[in-house]
Symmetry: C2
Subunit: 79 residues, 2 copies
Amino acid sequence: MKAIVTVMLKDGVLDPQGEAVRHALGSLGFAGVEGVRQGKVIELDLAETDEAKARAEAEAMCQRLLANTVIESYRVELA
Amino acid sequence: MKAIVTVMLKDGVLDPQGEAVRHALGSLGFAGVEGVRQGKVIELDLAETDEAKARAEAEAMCQRLLANTVIESYRVELA
């Protein structure tokens, strides 16, 4: 089973990477970009086939390794 | 209009970041992780309100800045 984990900085946490992208897009002539936030996406191939267990496992991975829950939020989707 | 761009390494391109995550998950005791690919997600707040134009703009941004199309593929979703 495939789990797709998206990790983003929480609202209110400064995102210098996103700001850099916004400036670069402006320099390239893309007007009308009002905000950019950059995060990461992690695709996990899990041996687990039960949907509930796979979700629980992916969430445990987020808590322990994939996300810094002080400043980041995460979302798990199963596919 | 919000555009969510997901950029992943193409299949067949070595993903050392994903491999590092896979090893770390193994060390933490998560068995059954068969593969990990890591990519980036970029949330764009666009002034454009027309869906087709917003998508075209986001794709142009991917081509010119956000993705290295030699080794990365991208996907644009509008929300």
